[in-house]
Every structure is written in structure tokens, then in C-alpha cells.
């Protein structure tokens, strides 16, 4: 019984690894593609490479295939990937941060003293 649950846990972990690998690889494809119309065929190719091993049943073979895929992904990682501007590493990260609380800005530049006179 424990063998079955261990097998299922390992399969679930493998599925998660494949999903995350596919997600990263897809983003990497978008980083390497200069234009959208170049991205679509590349993404289709990537999908085909994943689908080619869809029906592999042997659990050790799957592990090896995932490791190969991750190694290939690491090898072809983009040196300057696209990062959403606000995210760490993005072009707007920590630009125009909020002032610390407790600081007030007075906008009427001494006019209130004039009124009091």
C-alpha cells in the first residue's frame, strides 16, 4: 500500500515539475523571439517536443527525460530576459517609492500666513 502511495506521490511531483518546466521554457521562448509571429511557431515546436513524450510510462525514464529537459532549458537561458517593469529586476522596480508615513507636504507655500495678516 505504501508502495502505491509513494508511486503516486512521485508521479504527482513529476507532473508538477513538467508543468513548471513547460512554463519556464515557454517564457524563455518568448524571450528569444524578437517578434510575436516568430514566437508562435517556436511555441508550437516546444509543445510538440513535450507531447512527443506524453505517453511514456516508465517512472525512471520520465525522471531522466525531465532532467534532460531542465538541463537543456538551463543551457539555453536568455541572458537578458523580459521582466515585468514593477517586478524585482524590472525597469521600474523601486522607482517612485511611496514616501514614509508621517511625512506631510504643505502645498500652499506660506500663503496661509498672508491670509492671517
Amino acid at each position: 500500500m505504501s508502495g502505491v502511495s509513494a508511486y503516486l506521490a512521485r508521479r504527482a511531483a513529476q507532473k508538477e515539475r513538467v508543468r513548471i518546466l513547460y512554463r519556464r521554457a515557454l517564457k524563455e521562448t518568448l524571450n528569444w523571439a524578437v517578434h510575436r509571429h516568430l514566437f508562435y511557431p517556436d511555441a508550437d515546436d516546444l509543445r510538440k517536443r513535450f507531447d512527443a513524450n506524453k505517453h511514456v510510462e516508465d517512472i525512471n525514464t520520465i525522471d531522466r527525460l525531465i532532467a534532460d529537459g531542465e538541463a537543456a532549458h538551463n543551457k539555453w537561458r536568455h541572458p537578458d530576459p523580459y521582466i515585468v517593469p514593477w517586478a524585482p529586476g524590472g525597469s521600474k522596480f523601486t522607482r517612485n517609492p511611496e514616501p514614509p508615513s508621517g511625512i506631510e507636504i504643505v502645498y500652499d507655500y506660506g500663503q496661509e500666513a498672508e491670509e492671517a495678516l
Partner: protein, 123 residues
Amino acid sequence: MASSLRAAIISHFRVPASQTLALNGSKLWTVRSMSSHGDDHLDKNQVIDRVLEVVKCHPKIDPSKVTPEVHFQKDLGLDSLDTVEIVMALEEEFKLEIPDKEADKIDSCGLAIEYIYNHPMSS
């Protein structure tokens, strides 16, 4: 002469007190021009419409089946990699960057809408 003229001019240029108070008060932090720090928060219906629009564009999905509560794999018959593609399309639509582990958990329209609506940076 000059001082009376100055007084006459100044008496015409007066900023209403309520306006200066609004600038000085806590409202100052809610609207900040030229900043991208979540000033323009989306409302729920807008999020739902845009999420459904993106999901309907996926080639393997029958657009008539898409509802705000639909589950990608159980109801729409997609596989896990199609789900990854949809989540990535949603990220691009809303200019988000979702961490891998969290993106992995999004498996239905309802969850996607909730995540995007609650994300401070979605736009």
C-alpha cells in the same frame, strides 16, 4: 499704490480651503500621477470580462462553454500544458508576473479571476 494693487490681485487669487485640505490630507497617497504603483485598480466585472476574453481565444476551447466558474481541465477538456499556456496568456494580458508555484495552482477561471482581482499590480 503698489501695495494696494498687490492686495487687490491677491484677493482675486485665492485657493479654496477645502482644496488645500484635500491635498494635505490622506488623499494625497491615493492618486499619484506618473506612478505605476497600483493607482488604477481594476473592478471585478472588468477583470471577469478580460479573463473570459483571453480564455475564449485559446484555439482548443469552445467559446460557448466558457463561464466565470469553469474549470480548465474538468469542464473544458484541456490538459495541464494548455492550462500553463492560458495562465501565461493571462499574465501578459494583465501585465503580471506570477511566481511559478502560484501559477501552477491556478486551474480554473474562478481562481484566475480571484487571483488577478486581488493582485495589487494587475492593470
